[in-house]
């Protein structure tokens, strides 16, 4: 179970991306996060595994508060959170297998990962996951030789290799065609159901969200403005979330995206040390 308590984030530039967001995601629930660009969706899920450092509030994952953990503890907690990215974010020049195994990095010492000598059970698990997402025969190909849909499946396998207790999914279908998008969403739903995994899915495609999600949360300007089942998402509710075609908000969205990326980069450079 994931509990967010008055989570807030203000960027160095002074833009408030999240203000006092409180949410509870019970085990096995798939929650869709919708909202205009710039509403803070991407910031919200990055605050959970602290790729973006929240400025206030608590993130409780099965009773452990992730905010305020030291470097080492944070790494151990990150293993429990699988993340799937918008443009797959696979390491393009590594093989599919290495990408899946990279989900085990938090569990193995450096020398094992460096020599690619992962424990036997990790390798079995990786093969099983590749089989599950239907890519068993592509294990030895390089990631950049795959199509978009296949890459996202590798991304899913990598997240599952972590044996996570929570999935964070950032716009999983944004760079896929409609048919592949539905296949990927269906796969995600099935997998979460099989494992009783809770998931937060950032999604900008409202019909897709209504079709697949059990619960939908609408964000606007960093605040929760809608929280309910997909049937309750009426035209009025959508207007509350997205406003009447508000182009200024769209522009601000780009700024927030850039701010989030810059912030994540800073954090990563701090971690790579």
């Amino acid at each position: 179970m994931l509990i967010l308590q008055s989570l807030s984030k203000t960027y160095k530039t002074g833009d408030t991306a999240l203000s006092e967001v409180s949410l509870t995601v019970p085990k096995g629930q798939i929650m869709g996060l919708i909202g205009p660009s710039g509403a803070g969706k991407s910031t919200l899920i990055r605050c959970i595994n602290r790729l973006v450092e929240p400025t206030g509030g608590q993130v409780l994952l099965n009773d452990v508060d992730l905010v305020g953990l030291g470097k080492r503890e944070l790494r151990q907690q990150r293993r429990r959170i699988g993340m799937i990215f918008q443009e797959y974010a696979l390491v393009e020049r590594l093989t599919v297998m290495e990408n899946v195994l990279s989900g085990r990095l938090g569990y193995v010492p450096f020398w094992r990962s460096y020599l690619r000598r992962f424990p036997a059970e990790d390798i079995t698990r990786a093969y099983a996951l590749l089989d599950r997402v239907g890519l068993l025969q592509h294990a030895d190909k390089r990631a950049d030789a795959l199509s978009g849909g296949q890459r996202q499946r590798v991304g899913i396998a990598r997240a599952l290799a972590q044996d996570p207790e929570l999935l964070l999914v950032d716009e999983p279908t944004a760079s896929l065609d409609p048919k592949t998008s539905r296949q990927i969403m269906r796969l995600l739903i099935e997998i979460c159901a099989e494992r009783g995994l809770p998931a937060i899915v950032n999604i900008h495609d409202v019909p897709l969200a209504q079709q697949f999600m059990q619960r939908i949360v609408g964000l606007r300007a960093g605040r929760v403005v809608f929280d309910g089942s997909p049937d309750l998402l009426t035209q009025d509710a959508l207007t509350t979330i997205y406003g009447e075609e508000d182009w200024n908000a769209m522009r601000k969205g780009d700024e927030e995206q850039t701010a989030a990326e810059a912030d994540a980069r800073d954090r990563i450079s701090a971690l790579a040390r």
């Binding site: 036997a120 079995t124 030895d140």
Partner: protein, 267 residues
């Protein structure tokens, strides 16, 4: 999970697929390295004695002595700087016609061949080797250095300029040509605006290279700061040598920053 999944996985080879070839290449590399290391005869007592001198050099670098040889240093520096500027100006001036002549898309074949061979000769020979010849012909001093650097500049600038001209957008040249413009007008209106910013950038870059090279060719007698440095080192005056090296590094740094600034300003 008792599914029949493998428990071992090794990364498939990326470049050489055949196992035998891979081993052969690896063994070959090891043998080469052993042989190569074997040729290095090290006189350890000499190296040991040298450590003390090395220490003195590091000390000289940390506490450089600008003062006691300042006359020599400043003379060398003036020679180097004047040599650098004049040779860059002359070199670029000569490079422009050669560069235009070596561009396949605007020059006739026979001119193209001549210009390309001039470029090839200039690029193939090291500055220091050219300097040896020119010192033998023109006598010691910065004039030989000036000629060396001008000659080396031609190979560098003319080559890159010609490559640039060959890559210009043909459509623009076509458009100018279709107005009935002469060859000179085509060069002036279609080619020049497209390559001018790059040419200025390259010239500034070459100015920087020429200064660095001017510090070297002095070793074979072509004047400049290199001669001063050579003297300082052969007299074991490491503090003066350290001062000279710091001056060179400083000037190169200033040149690099100011040329990147200037390029931004001009574009």
């Amino acid at each position: 999970m008792s599914a029949p999944y493998p428990t071992r996985w090794t990364r498939p080879p990326q470049i050489i697929k055949d196992r035998r070839w891979r081993i052969a290449v690896q063994v070959g590399i090891v043998i080469y390295l052993v042989l190569a290391m074997g040729t290095v005869e090290v006189n350890w007592t000499r190296v040991y004695e040298g450590l003390e001198r090395g220490q003195r050099f590091v000390m000289g670098f940390l506490q450089p002595d600008f003062a006691s040889r300042w006359r020599d240093i400043s003379n060398g520096l003036v020679e180097s700087l004047t040599m650098t500027l004049t040779s860059t100006v002359v070199g670029v001036a000569i490079s422009v016609p050669i560069g235009i002549g070596a561009a396949r898309n605007i020059a006739p074949v026979w001119i193209y061949r001549i210009c390309r061979s001039i470029i090839a000769v200039s690029r193939a020979l090291q500055e220091i080797i050219i300097a040896i010849f020119l010192v033998a012909m023109f006598g010691f001093g910065p004039f030989a250095g000036f000629l060396t650097l001008s000659f080396a500049t031609i190979g560098f600038i003319a080559k890159l300029l010609a490559d640039d001209i060959e890559e210009i957008e043909e459509a623009q040249a076509e458009a100018i040509r279709s107005t009935g413009a002469s060859w000179w007008q085509v060069v002036n209106y279609a080619v020049q605006p497209q390559v001018m910013p790059r040419l200025i950038g390259l010239s500034l870059y070459r100015l920087d290279i020429n200064f660095r090279e001017s510090a070297v060719i002095g070793i074979v007698g072509a004047g400049g700061i290199g001669a001063t440095l050579n003297t300082a080192i052969s007299r074991y005056e490491y503090d003066s040598a350290g001062a000279i090296l710091l001056i060179i590094i400083g000037i190169v740094m200033v040149a690099e920053y100011s040329s990147s600034y200037l390029r931004k300003f001009l574009q």
